[in-house]
Amino acid sequence: MRAYLHSVPEPILTINGVTKDYPAVRAVNDLSLAINRGEAHGLIGENGAGKSTLMKMLSGLERPTAGSITFEGQPLELRSAADAMKRGIAMIHQELNLIGELSVADNIFLGRERTTLGLVDRGSAETAALKLLNQLGSNISPRTRVNRLSIADQQLVEIAKALSCEARLLIMDEPTAVLSERETNALFRVVNQLRLHRGVTIIYISHILPEVRRLCDRITVLRDGQYVKTVEPREVDDADLARLMVGRDLGELFPQRAAHLPDTVLEVRNFFVDGWVRGAGFELHRGEILGLAGLVGSGRTEFAEAIAGVRRRRSGSVSIIGEPADIRRPADAIAHRLAYVSEDRKLRGLHLDLSITENTTLANLRAYGFPLLKAAARRASAQEHARRLGTRCATVQQRVSSLSGGNQQKVALAKWLDTKPNVLILDEPTRGVDIGAKQEIYGLIHQLAAEGRSIVMISSEMPELIGLCHRILVMRNGRIVGALPGERATEADIMHLAAGLRENRVA
């Protein structure tokens, strides 16, 4: 599917020496790049490399400090996202930007409502929305309120919204980070259709390198806001791309597996959560890394939230080191040295308009003095975590909203590490994180386990479960349907269990 529409590549978009300065950093630095009409162009780089910033300038959300952009032969000077849409440029943002109280159809046509006689025409909007969603292989009803949808479904609505305005340039900033394999495949089909039948040009940002290589005709690598190189997928492999991104050889992605101790640290029995979990449980040993696999919507997050006391459970018991632990509220979990790092960092994980220090120490303020908090100690601790996780920031007093997506994820992780948990439940900890940082996070998880902490890791990326975990539990429809030994599991094994093609009931 890598056929160019035009025999001679003709640039649709030319970026000329563009620079973008934020108060403390230069996010994009004198960058030039040409995108050809009808191609799918991949954009990769570490967290904070400036990918989103560059795209925001193409979609009217930011204006360049210096440099110029030409689109379809005309200079591109945008004041708003609406301007960009008028020029035929649509962007799917890294963070969801939907209005929770409105319906799916209303969100898709927000700002471009279809009207008859001045009144919003719900019916035709819903029909059109349904058609778009069907193209994406989704069966969401256009009338559902968006805040009732799972994150994956919300992402699909976001994609449908971008498709709906018939853009000639479609920018996708990590659209698949929250999608399952099936949804990703559906998305790729749509993207290829758009390119081949409608000649739409695609710019595609992702940290999942195989995906980029599969979809794109050319791939451009950015580092520290600068252009590094443009390559064709068939001349490079993932390791080459990683090297270009990080600027050095990464070596092994996963740390050497180490054995864990036999004693049980956490025992979860017979959990029921209304609508999500139907009798799930497991045992976790000291120093063990336990994977929790399953399709999006299989109840993994809800199960984890119930264990950590942020979600109400109907029944179920927890014991920690043999003692029953009655965890009903998040504070109980902290008291039992159990921490849950949520998957949705923007809504649940972080206070975006507070500083890194503030966020890092928030769940553990008790440790920083009473009645007065020790500001220096908090700052030092935030700095220590930032150093250990490799968070890229100018200072720890910076607001979290000014960090790139992947670096925000590291702050969310730091916040819970600061509570010094014995049991750590990580929900998609590497979502949106670049490959170098992923390696660092794997190393960190491994190190935490080696220190005798126990880890439950929820992930939709099967290779990382296989590469890191001692044991992998597979969840389907609110039940644990199988347990696989980490070193011998294959993606096919996990998929079979997750999709219900084979059953291997345990516990």
């Binding site: 950093v25 503030e358 009645p371 908090l373 890229r392 920031c393």
Partner: protein, 350 residues
């Protein structure tokens, strides 16, 4: 230095809007003060210790309430009931004081009871509001709108529509007297009279509460939780913060502040008038908080900003009187200053 990989070096760029975002209120205050000290109409009467102390003294009641309001607003709430509440708890205190003095004949006992009952009653009422908002899940605007109506009605009932005077209870009147407090200096006023200027009790209490408030907000766990709840309630809940309790405490706190202000106000006015005392106080308090740079939707704010806001409001009143401008202009000038202060402090990132 956290950045281990050499990023493109670039010095943080200077922006005027960053300066205004932080210091806008103070800049506005200084400009206003400068203008008032130069304007022919107010040149002689404005910038002198007597007048300045007078401004602060006049607005100390408002200031104390506004500091409570700052906490409520930062946590994402609002309290419209403080104007009625100050009349009600103040009225309660004065009525009780008179009763005790009449029955026991000991003045100090009555005064002591009044000083205790108003803050206590304020706290209880605030705590109830807090319960309605946090456990009852009623929007703060609605819950406190009910308070605004209910407390006013309650004080009207209590005093049968009239007032209760504390006139003649000299030790009560002395609390807010300008001749009491910490002596500062001797001052010869325009008529040639020599008077001893005091840091009055309302001023002392206002300053103390402001300092305590600032410490509470920036340097204690509770203060940080208030900010966290206002900034993102869901994330706060996931961070094991007891959101309901934080809310409850902020409303209890503003009730306490209102109760304290009520004693000082009742002393200064020598009584409470059930239909007039405290009218529109809630709007002045909210205005002061907003002028001070606190975000009305919560999550960001500062106590010292509120103090500046209070001073700005006080200065507007004062200057108009000094310049003998009709009080009818007051609303227009205030509106202009509020808008200006808020425009100056708009955050560049929003």
């Amino acid at each position: 230095m956290i950045q281990d990989k050499p990023n493109t070096p670039s010095a943080p760029r200077f922006h005027w809007s960053d300066v205004f975002e932080t210091w806008g209120g103070l800049i506005a205050l200084v400009i206003m003060a400068a203008v008032c000290s130069l304007l022919p109409a107010t040149r002689d009467s404005f910038l002198n210790p007597e007048n300045i102390l007078n401004i602060i003294n006049q607005k100390a009641f408002l200031g104390i309430v506004a500091i409570g309001m700052t906490f409520v607003i930062i946590s994402g709430g609002i309290d419209l009931s403080v104007g009625s509440m100050i009349a009600f708890v103040g009225g309660l205190a004065v009525v009780l004081m008179k009763k005790i003095i009449d029955s026991s004949g000991t003045e100090w006992l009555g005064v002591l009871a009044a000083c205790a009952i108003a803050p206590l009653a304020g706290m209880v009422l605030g705590w109830i509001t807090g319960l309605i908002v946090s456990k009852g899940r009623v929007a703060p605007f609605i819950a406190t709108l009910c308070g605004l109506a209910a407390y006013r009605s309650a004080v009207l009932v209590l005093m049968d529509g009239g007032g209760e005077s504390a006139f003649g209870v000299s030790s009560f009147e002395a609390i807010s007297s300008t001749n009491n407090g910490i002596p500062l200096l001797n001052w010869t006023d325009a008529t040639g009279r020599e008077i001893a200027l005091h840091l009055t009790w309302p001023i002392i209490v206002f300053i103390s509460i402001a300092v305590l408030g600032q410490v509470l907000l920036s340097h204690t766990r509770f203060g940080r939780y208030v900010v966290a709840v206002g900034s993102n309630e869901t994330a706060a809940r996931y961070s094991a913060i007891n959101v309901d309790r934080v809310r409850l405490i902020t409303y209890t706190l503003i009730g306490l502040c209102t109760g304290i202000a009520a004693v000082l106000l009742a002393s200064r006015l020598s009584g409470i008038d059930s239909s007039n005392t405290g009218i529109l106080l809630e709007l002045d308090a909210i205005a002061a908080v907003v002028i001070g740079g606190t975000r009305l939707s919560g999550g960001r704010g500062r106590i010292w900003g509120t103090v500046i806001g209070v001073l700005i409001l006080g200065m507007i009143d004062n200057v108009l009187i000094l310049a003998s401008v009709s009080t009818h202009w007051q609303g227009l000038v205030t509106a202009g200053v509020i808008l200006l202060a808020v425009l100056l402090q708009r955050s560049r990132s929003e």
